[in-house]
């Protein structure tokens, strides 16, 4: 009886010890969550109801005003338009390209590893440097204009950053260049899990390559496609640094996406001094709620993709 009691207390003791050690090992991250994640959210949720520009005597409660102003803020909604345009331009170029390259590399050609490494390489370059490189290449006196006039495609150079459409096109190209390799690797990984026999029997029955692609390959990698598409949508919604570095909104703030617009308007070092931070908080809240809704709608709509097989 006594023996089991000491055993029990020792077990209890070791349990508390374990708990203490677990919390000790997680301590920085738990503190970090409270101080760096949770507190700023409450902070923003509070100040969204105030006029607040860091000058104490200007601070006043304004109620719904910040939120109402967002709906009147045409620059903010133009940034939404730009973001959607960016997504609609980029994703249909990037994903089919990545898919095509994955299918081609999956033919087990010589040098598959080298090509895979080359396609992924742009992704390791800092997005800020990507922006610099592309704004240099597409400069009026840059290499792209130089090559296009040399080969007679253009008679004279184009001012790529003077027109919102061509400026956005440069951002789309830079962004696609930077990420197509990652998507190709996701697709390639999925393709390699498709059993060889499926193809064999299809070809035995005389199926054409296109039929095989649409009837076997595509349905088999549908679950990965769902994830890749989610990541692509998420990536385009959050595009930020690239826009700030490549065009910085040029011309006239017309190429700002939502995230870069918020940075440009409210974040120190980018924004003007003494902006209404309360308004920025309201805008950040509205934006993240809308992003959440997009995410939920997407996962509802795309559910079928993951359930094909």
């Amino acid at each position: 009886m006594e023996l089991t009691n000491t055993k029990k207390s020792r077990q209890l003791n070791s349990k508390t010890k374990m708990t203490l050690q677990c919390y000790l090992m997680l301590s920085t991250q738990i503190i970090g969550f409270i101080v760096l994640t949770a507190y700023p959210i409450f902070w923003a949720a509070k100040w969204a109801w105030f006029y607040f520009d860091n000058i104490p005597q200007n601070t006043r409660f304004v109620g719904w005003e910040n939120f109402i102003n967002i709906f009147k803020d045409s620059a903010y909604w133009r940034a939404w338009g730009t973001t959607l345009k960016f997504a609609v331009c980029k994703i249909p170029i990037e994903l089919p390209l990545a898919m095509l390259l994955a299918v081609l590399l999956n033919r087990r050609i010589k040098g598959q590893g080298a090509f895979r490494a080359i396609f992924y390489m742009p992704h390791i370059v800092s997005v800020a440097i990507v922006g610099l490189i592309f704004s240099n290449m597409f400069d009026y006196f840059g290499v792209i204009n130089g090559l296009l006039t040399k080969f007679g495609v253009l008679t004279e150079g184009v001012n790529w950053f003077d027109n919102p459409n061509t400026a956005l096109m440069v951002i789309v190209l830079a962004s696609t260049w930077s990420t197509f390799g990652t998507n190709m690797i996701y697709f390639l990984g999925a393709l390699q899990t498709i059993p060889e026999e499926l193809y064999e029997s299809a070809y035995l029955e005389g199926a054409k390559p296109f039929t095989v692609f649409f009837k076997i390959t595509l349905p088999m990698i549908a679950p990965i496609l769902q994830t890749v598409l989610l990541l692509a949508i998420n990536g385009t919604l959050h595009i930020n640094d690239l826009v700030l570095v490549t065009t910085n909104g040029a011309p006239g703030g017309k190429t700002f996406t939502v995230m870069s617009y918020i940075v440009k308007q409210f974040v120190p070092g980018f924004a003007e001094a003494n902006v209404n931070i309360g308004y920025g908080c309201a805008m950040a809240l509205i934006t993240s709620v809308m992003y959440c809704i997009i995410g939920i709608v997407y996962s509802k709509l795309s559910k079928r993709l993951s359930e094909i097989y």
Binding site: K17, I41, I118, I124, A128, L132, G142, N145, M259
Partner: protein, 283 residues
């Protein structure tokens, strides 16, 4: 085996080769142009390789007072080293605690940490962070950002190490417990040496992301230009308004910023890819 015709292979090589050229072109162009004079960059834009390559841009950058590349390289280096070390330690520890540890609140904390993947108000939250740093007498500086990094949760890396530690048999832990090892020392003596492959992956991903980081270091160093990292400094050169006048310095700076990640990629190519796919499947 699939049918692999000769024509098919030739078409494959043409397409794949063409895309490979496009993938490489901006990098090759940047490195090659960093050896041109500014006059050559502007006068012969269609020329990709320099006619008379020279190290002049690098020498100018090295000696420049405004574009202090030595200082920026050093800032980038210590920032990256500390970030990598902190990320490695905290995410492997968390991965270990969430697989082997048993304590009240485990599920809740894991769920909350996972939620950080989705909850974010973006950059507006730098204001409360500044308030906190001021409250503890730390300025807005690179060191302030490092402090933020020490306390932040890198959930993807936690997932990576968690799923790796799950594959390690518990027999060793049990033997260590009998020998009187504590929960923490099991991690440092037994688990940590056994998870080298995943620490390589996490380390190389953390290296790439912190070396390449732009927005946060830029926000935290706006009032202290001497603490700019390389990436921030090179971009600041573009925004300084000199425009075309400093393309040569920008290209040289970009090349210097590129070299460390390219070397890391050449050495640890497989870790980049394995980290990415594992992160996608598990995360």
């Amino acid at each position: 085996m699939k049918k692999q015709t000769l024509v098919g292979n030739i078409i494959t090589y043409i397409i794949v080769g063409f895309v490979a050229v496009i993938a490489l072109f901006p990098i090759i162009y940047t490195v090659a142009s960093s050896f041109k004079t500014n006059a050559e960059i502007l006068a012969f834009p269609e020329r990709i390789f320099p006619r008379n390559p020279s190290f002049e841009n690098y020498i100018t950058a090295w000696n420049s007072e405004d574009f202090n590349i030595k200082q920026m390289f050093w800032n980038s280096t210590y920032y990256t080293v500390i970030c990598v070390f902190v990320t490695l330690l905290s995410s492997t520890m968390a991965g270990y605690v969430f697989t082997r540890g048993e304590f009240p609140g485990k599920k809740l904390i894991f769920a909350v940490f996972s939620a950080t993947m989705f909850i974010s108000l973006g950059t507006i939250t730098v204001y409360p962070l500044f308030d906190i740093l001021t409250a503890i007498n730390l300025n807005r500086s690179l060191w302030g950002l490092i402090l933020v990094k020490i306390f932040s949760i890198s959930i993807v890396n936690i997932y990576l190490s968690r799923s790796f530690i799950k594959t390690i048999p518990t027999a060793l832990d049990e033997a260590a417990i009998i020998d009187g090892c504590s929960f923490i020392s099991i991690f440092f003596r037994i688990i940590l040496p056994m998870i080298k492959p995943i620490t390589a992956t996490i380390g190389i991903l953390a290296f790439q992301s912190s070396w390449n980081e732009y927005l946060m270091p830029s926000i935290f160093t706006t009032s202290v230009p001497s603490q700019r990292t390389l990436i921030v400094g090179v971009v600041a050169l573009k925004n300084s308004g000199d425009g075309a006048a400093s393309w040569n310095l920008m290209l040289a700076g970009s090349t210097v910023a590129l070299i460390p990640v390219l070397i890391a990629y050449a050495i640890g190519n497989k870790y980049f890819v394995s980290g990415m796919t594992a992160g996608a499947v598990k995360g």
